[in-house]
């Protein structure tokens, strides 16, 4: 009845893990840069600068898995473990760039719907070149691309449209026209990966503008409505298509 209490983390990298699985970390995390640390207990807890990412929690001697998915590992910079899971519901995280929809203007702040459990707030001064006299022209129903500066479980999330040096860096109000739709979070991460073939192949089909929000929202604008809708359908479908099926679909479209 007493099954193996935990398996080594390295053995499960790239495999499916389920909540309740305990991952044991190798003991050599003790002899890291801060070797001068006093150990009060005889080396039960790992002491290296290990990053415990989404889907994992520290528990006693190892990491407890809390979401189902594939276990990933990055050896650089002290090592990081996280669980790659597919879900559709977004939970705000600090530093994420998201697309929000303005739902209300309350005095000096805008309330944005970002798809999480609470509306986020955005101050009117958080735009490039905005002052008390020079207010940005934001109406209810506008789309805003910004990043979170405050996003934890206890407080209401707050967004800004400028980075730390005061430049907008591509953030701000998203222009007129275009089409906004929602996909799963896993597809967004796939599209944001460094060399994404999907976007390269699509750009050879028609020229278009694309904004990807980490909350699962994508905004697309092409020259005509029909081209926009074609790109929307391909992006929605490519989550479940293999690369060959995608190339076939695109070849058929560019032939037309």
């Amino acid at each position: 009845m007493a099954a193996e209490r935990g398996t080594a983390a390295e053995a499960l990298v790239g495999q499916v893990v389920l909540p309740g699985d305990l991952l044991l970390l190798p003991a050599h995390y003790d002899e890291d840069a801060e070797g001068e640390r006093l150990r009060l207990s005889a080396g039960t807890a790992p002491q290296g600068r290990l990053l415990c990412g989404p889907g994992l929690r520290r528990s006693g001697a190892g990491l407890l898995v809390t979401k189902c998915g594939l276990l990933r590992h990055r050896p650089a910079g002290g090592g990081a473990y996280w669980v790659d899971s597919q879900q559709k519901r977004y939970v705000p995280v600090k530093g994420d760039h998201v697309i929000g929809i303005v739902t209300a203007k309350a005095g000096d702040v805008f309330r944005l719907d970002v798809g999480g459990s609470e509306p986020a707030s955005l101050s009117y001064l958080a735009f490039e070149g905005a002052t008390k006299r020079n207010r940005p022209n934001v109406q209810v129903g506008d789309l805003i691309y910004g990043q979170f500066v405050v996003a934890n479980k206890d407080m209401e999330p707050e967004m800004v449209c400028i980075d730390s040096s005061g430049k907008s860096n591509g953030m701000g109000i998203i222009g007129q026209d275009g089409f906004l739709f929602k996909v799963s979070l896993g597809l967004i991460r796939k599209l944001l990966a460094p060399k994404c073939e999907i976007i390269q192949e699509l750009s050879q089909l028609y020229p278009f503008e694309l904004v990807l929000g980490m909350n699962g929202r994508i905004w697309v604008k092409a020259k005509t409505v029909q081209q926009t809708l074609i790109i929307v359908n391909i992006l929605e479908a490519c989550e479940y298509m293999t690369p060959q099926q995608r190339k076939q679909a695109l070849a058929k479209l560019s032939g037309n």
Binding site: L70, Q86, S117
Partner: protein, 193 residues
């Protein structure tokens, strides 16, 4: 997230929504407020459905890490599609799969197993409706994760303490099969990535 679980002919469809905004009257300051709605196949939900909803809610609250999402609401809606016995354990399994599918943080997995104690003392696992009628007692257990601890136990009928222990041991052994099924389904889902 929707998923449907059917052992034999009993079939339940589970939909999970959350973490979403909670009404002020229902929000808890330190945890997520979990709500379970069980809809029978015909008719309006009655007292039996309400008591089952409370059992399911308490089991799910023990497994879900609600402290990670305070002041939110998590709603689990279960629709009974067909009932041929062992309904409560089917609902438990559907609830666990819905929680897994939606990506909510769980401390451990859980599954439901029903045992029927026949008049001659034999133990039957996952009884049909007919076997439940003829049995002396029907016990349902919610078994957690890899250490096979009991999250919830409910009994209908009368049985001795030793018989309860035997049913519990049988249920814990059977739980292994269900957890393996969860693992295989998740593997199949992630094999396309």
């Amino acid at each position: 997230e929707l998923c449907s679980v059917c052992p034999g002919d009993t079939s339940v469809l589970a939909g999970l929504y959350g973490p979403a905004e909670a009404k002020l009257s229902k929000e808890l300051p330190d945890r997520a407020a979990l709500e379970v709605l069980l809809r029978p196949k015909v008719g309006l939900p009655g007292v039996l459905e309400r008591s089952r909803e409370q059992l399911l809610r308490q089991t799910c609250e023990a497994a879900v890490l609600g402290v990670l999402h305070p002041r939110t609401a998590i709603s689990l809606v279960l629709q009974v599609l067909s009932d041929a016995g062992s309904l409560l354990s089917c609902c438990l399994n559907a609830a666990c799969m819905a929680l897994l599918d939606a990506g909510l943080p769980l401390a451990a997995l859980f599954c439901g197993v029903t045992c029927a104690l026949q008049p001659d003392g034999a133990i039957l696992l996952d009884p049909t409706a007919r076997q439940e009628q003829e049995a002396r007692a029907v016990l349902t257990f919610a078994i957690a994760g890899s250490d096979r601890k009991v999250l919830m136990a409910t009994t209908k009928g009368s049985c001795s303490v030793e018989e309860t222990q035997q049913c519990l041991a049988a249920a814990q052994r059977a739980a292994g099969t269900i957890f393996q099924f969860y693992r295989d389904s998740v593997r199949r889902r992630y094999s396309k990535c």
